[in-house]
């Protein structure tokens, strides 16, 4: 577990001298060259100013970048990348830095291309259901922008109020509503990309099927290792005419997860089914997003269905009926938009709210077939007992994507190590149950070793071979996503 040691402990800032063998540019020359491309006010290079860029939403490991540069156009990105490629300077793209697996963390003294300023909405074409955005454009801003016309952008990661669509593309972000609407890859249709060699390519197609191999599909979820997206065409959708949200409280986790199975078995396809266990509920109840859930509830399901108003009540009636058959303590429907927003706010803020009950937490992201949920939860509970660590669970039950939150105190190195070990064991269990190690947070730095639970040596080599096609010098977010076999 070499890669996960030292939680919350700063590693020494990268000494430029360490890179001397590799880098033919001095730091001064590098900064000068970057300044020549974008101007003095869009390059940060002094070490003290770089500190805040040493990690993303995953804080267990960090490293100082050589510089942070803020491009504003595809051409600038291409020029920067060409410069860096020419001199073999490692680099990586960063959106809002909300990623949970260290995908934007510089460990090789990378130059960070920060997309915070490349954040414009380029165009919206409602008649053809498409929008074109720059990578730094915020996910939720798009939905807000087209809301007045009754449209929305479907992928809704919990970070959507801050996370960028470029970052979403890199991570193939999911969200609560992807049970019905799919994840980022199902909604991104075309992109302009700057490849690690500095060449510009236009991949995917705004409509229909792209000619050639599905490079767009390959780029989504590549964690910025194959190139950098600089313009993204996404599918937008008409908002459903009606939405109904059901909240069900259970005294037993098993009953709650059986409810989920029965809903699916009944041929109902909800937009979302979210699950929170007791500890998670307690944490969020302490935050400003509290709903007023009783303290002794074992599990809560938030089930949402949407569609045409006509016929939706039949569906919710069926759901209420299924909940009642499973010894639900109370089940009710949101009576208005505010109540629905309150429930969702509470659910979406669950990760952050762990700060309310624990100094630190590790969030895992394993995914299992839905039918194995109950078993996975039981085994997580057992591991929690064995390790003597509290584990909260909040997850997308509809699609079997678990989010166990392992609570620990980083001030205690032994406990930290135990938390990391437990997290890894949980992922092993997910893999053993026919699932995978990450459903939506990405591999990044965090789950490199665990990749071996799901891929053998040949499969890893095949992926590295593909990376080499795009990044022959191994400069673009090197060391992330695929471990060396």
């Amino acid at each position: 577990m070499e890669n996960q040691s030292g939680t919350n402990v700063l590693v020494e800032p990268t000494n430029p001298r360490d890179m001397r063998g590799k880098v033919k540019l001095s730091k001064a020359e590098l900064v000068n060259s970057l300044v020549n491309i974008v101007g003095v006010h869009r390059v940060i290079h002094e070490p003290d100013y770089l500190r805040v860029y040493e990690c993303d939403g995953y804080v267990a490991r960090n490293g100082l970048p050589s510089a942070v540069v803020f491009p504003e156009t595809t051409q600038e990105v291409a020029e920067i990348v060409r410069l860096l490629a020419k001199h073999q300077v490692p680099f990586l793209p960063r959106g809002a830095g909300t990623g949970l697996s260290g995908g934007a963390t510089p460990l090789n003294g990378e130059v960070i291309l920060n997309f915070a300023r490349m954040n414009k909405l380029i165009s919206v074409d409602l008649d053809n259901l498409r929008a074109v955005v720059q990578p730094g454009y915020i996910n939720l801003t798009l939905s807000k922008e087209i809301d007045k016309d009754g449209f929305f952008y479907a992928p809704d990661p919990s970070s959507q109020s801050s996370s960028t669509i470029g970052g979403n593309v890199a991570e193939n972000s999911g969200g609560a509503h992807c049970l019905k609407y799919g994840v980022t890859t199902n909604h991104v249709v075309a992109a302009t990309v700057v490849l690690p060699t500095g060449e510009i390519a236009h991949i995917g197609t705004p409509f229909g099927d792209a000619v050639g191999y599905d490079l767009m599909g390959l780029f989504v979820g590549a964690e910025g290792t194959l190139g950098i997206v600089t313009e993204i065409t996404v599918r937008i959708m008409k908002k459903p005419e009606a939405v109904k949200t059901v909240q069900a409280m259970y005294d037993s986790i098993a009953q709650a997860s059986d409810t989920v199975s029965d809903i699916i078995r009944a041929g109902i396809l909800p937009a979302a089914i979210e699950f929170m266990d007791k500890l998670a509920i307690q944490a969020v109840e302490k935050s400003s997003y509290h709903v007023g859930y009783p303290e002794d509830i074992e599990a809560i399901l938030i089930i949402e269905v949407d569609g045409l108003t006509a016929g939706l009540e039949e569906t919710t009636d069926k759901i209420l009926d299924i909940c009642r058959r499973h010894e639900v303590r109370t089940v009710k429907m949101a009576t208005n938009a505010n109540e629905r927003a309150l429930w969702w706010g509470n659910r979406k803020m669950a990760f952050g709210a762990m700060g309310q009950i624990s100094p630190d937490y590790l969030v895992q992201d394993g995914s299992v077939p839905r039918t194995r949920l109950t078993e996975a939860l039981a085994r997580i509970q057992a591991m929690s007992r064995d390790a003597g660590l509290r584990i909260a669970n909040v997850f997308h039950a509809g699609d079997g994507n678990l989010h166990p939150l392992i609570l620990y105190d980083s001030a205690n190195p032994e406990e930290t190590e135990r938390a990391i070990q437990t997290a890894s064991k949980i992922l092993k269990v997910c893999a053993d149950l026919g699932g995978t190690i990450t459903g939506e947070h990405g591999v990044g730095l965090e789950k490199l070793e665990e990749m071996r639970y799901v891929f053998n040596k040949t499969e890893l080599e095949a992926q590295l071979a593909l990376r080499k096609v795009f990044d022959p010098q191994n400069l673009c977010n090197a060391g992330k996503l695929i471990p060396l076999p």
Binding site: H41, S162, S287, G355
Partner: protein, 465 residues
């Protein structure tokens, strides 16, 4: 949109203009004065980044050093001795508007605003001890000398404040104003602010109101009115309206004559020692009046007074008193809804919008009450303002210390005022001045109003109807 070159002047995102390879680290390590940012406050941050897009300075500058997450990270680094108290820290901490927008959205409940104020306290103390290089002071505030003069010499002294008010009145009504305006004595941002300063009334409400005003009808509770400084110099009529509205709703109003400025500006500037002195005085004065509530109509003051306990963490006795004081502090809209206000019968025929002052919406979480009051006024049409909770750039005296950022945020706020309204209501005098200036620059015909003014007008009209 301002040009990038202009933007970077506001906050030196990268200090390359001072020579690319300069490294201006200072030797001061850590926050070593009393009352430092506490580990239990900054360690709550899980680095999720959900605060980023709510931060006005991040929205404008797009640099993580100028975001709540970045600021908390820097505070943590300095606190734990990994980063000296240097330029990036000072610039980051002092560019914060202390608007508390991040406090509102933080799922972990990090009190960013309080951390910033504590960090400012440390920087202020280091500056006073001449530990920091002089240019660091420039980074912290551009108008330091003048500002400190106000913070130390004027605001803490009610008599001097009243005198200042009188001087201002003299300035406005004599030929002095004309001379100043026509001779480019004033810098542009100050100028635009100066040009819209309301006429200063002859006398503040602290002077004009009687000490004791009995409730109309059955007494529901007793309240002590906090009159504030900016409010009482420029908007004494709002203090009077506040008293009338309170009395009308069964509240007996006491006006403690020994009260002084709340100290919010001092806390924001990092002068916690001075702020503590002022808080002590107010606690003493108001607790002596033995009222049920302390009612405030200025959001900034209300927030500061509700947070007095933050200033006395190291003194259990004063801490207990501060807590007992703070528990009684209410914004006027909050109190009216809490005790139940009588819907007015008089009509106010106009269309307005409502701006959420940061220190009401984020710091005090008073959100629905002002709207409830406005909705209760017959004839008044309230149109929603987009992004109503985004900071207007006033930030206490931020618009004076960081004029360019203040201007940009002010213009953004005025652009958000919906078409077709003739007034914009709010609950904070700083916002009122700032938005008035923006409206003046834009040249539109919109009145800037306090929520209580409208309610008072509706009650007044009852008699006429």
């Amino acid at each position: 949109m301002p040009k990038l070159s202009e933007m970077a002047k506001v906050v030196t995102m990268s200090p390359v203009d001072r020579g690319i390879y300069s490294n201006s680290t200072s030797d001061v390590l850590g926050f070593h004065w009393a009352d430092a940012p506490e580990a239990e406050k900054y360690s709550v941050c899980v680095h999720c980044g959900l605060c980023l897009e709510t931060c006005p300075t991040y929205q404008e500058l797009r640099d993580e050093n100028q975001s709540p997450r970045g600021r908390v990270y820097l505070i943590k680094e300095v606190s734990e001795g990994r980063l000296p108290l240097n330029e990036v820290v000072v610039s980051s901490i002092f560019t914060c508007l202390d608007c508390r927008n991040c406090d509102s959205v933080c799922p972990s409940g990090v009190k960013v605003g309080n951390l910033i104020e504590e960090a400012r306290g440390q920087i202020y103390a280091s500056m006073r001890a001449k530990e920091l290089k002089p240019e660091m002071t420039q980074v912290a505030h551009s108008g330091t000398a003048l500002e400190r003069f106000f913070e130390r010499k004027i605001f803490p002294h009610p008599k001097r404040l009243q005198t200042l008010g009188k001087l201002l009145r003299f300035y406005q009504h004599s030929g002095l104003r004309w001379i100043a305006r026509n001779n480019n004595f004033l810098h542009q941002p100050i100028k635009s602010m100066e040009s819209i300063l309301p006429d200063v009334p002859k006398m503040g409400a602290l002077e004009s109101l009687p000490h004791h005003i009995p409730a109309q009808g059955e007494e529901k509770a007793t309240v002590a009115l906090f009159t504030g400084c900016v409010m009482d110099i420029f908007f004494a009529h709002i203090n009077e309206a506040t008293a009338r509205v309170a009395v009308r709703n069964g509240l007996t109003v006491v006006v403690p004559k020994e009260q002084i400025c709340c100290g919010a500006l001092q806390t924001a500037a990092g002068d916690r020692e001075q702020a503590r002195e002022m808080a002590k005085r107010n606690i003493e004065v108001f607790m002596a009046s033995q009222v049920d509530y302390i009612v405030v109509n200025a959001a900034g003051c209300g927030a500061a007074m509700k947070e007095y306990p933050e200033l006395f963490k190291d003194d259990p006795v004063l801490l207990a008193q501060a807590k007992s004081f703070s528990e009684r502090v209410r914004d006027i809209s909050e109190l009216l809804v809490e005790v139940g206000f009588e819907p007015p019968k008089g009509t106010v025929e106009r269309t307005i919008t409502y701006h959420d002052s940061c220190h009401l919406y984020h710091a005090q979480r008073v959100r629905s009450q002002p709207r409830e009051i406005l909705k209760a006024i017959p004839g008044l049409k309230v149109v929603d303002m987009p992004n109503s909770e985004r900071c207007c750039g006033s930030g206490g005296i931020y618009n004076v210390t960081h004029p360019e950022m203040g201007l940009r945020l002010g213009d953004r706020k005025v652009n958000d005022i919906p078409d077709g309204v003739d007034g914009v209501a709010m609950g904070n005098p700083g916002c009122m001045l700032q938005i008035s200036a923006g409206i003046h620059r834009r040249g539109i015909d919109v009145d800037v109003l306090h929520t209580v003014e409208l309610l008072d007008e509706a009650y007044q009209k009852e008699r006429n109807d």
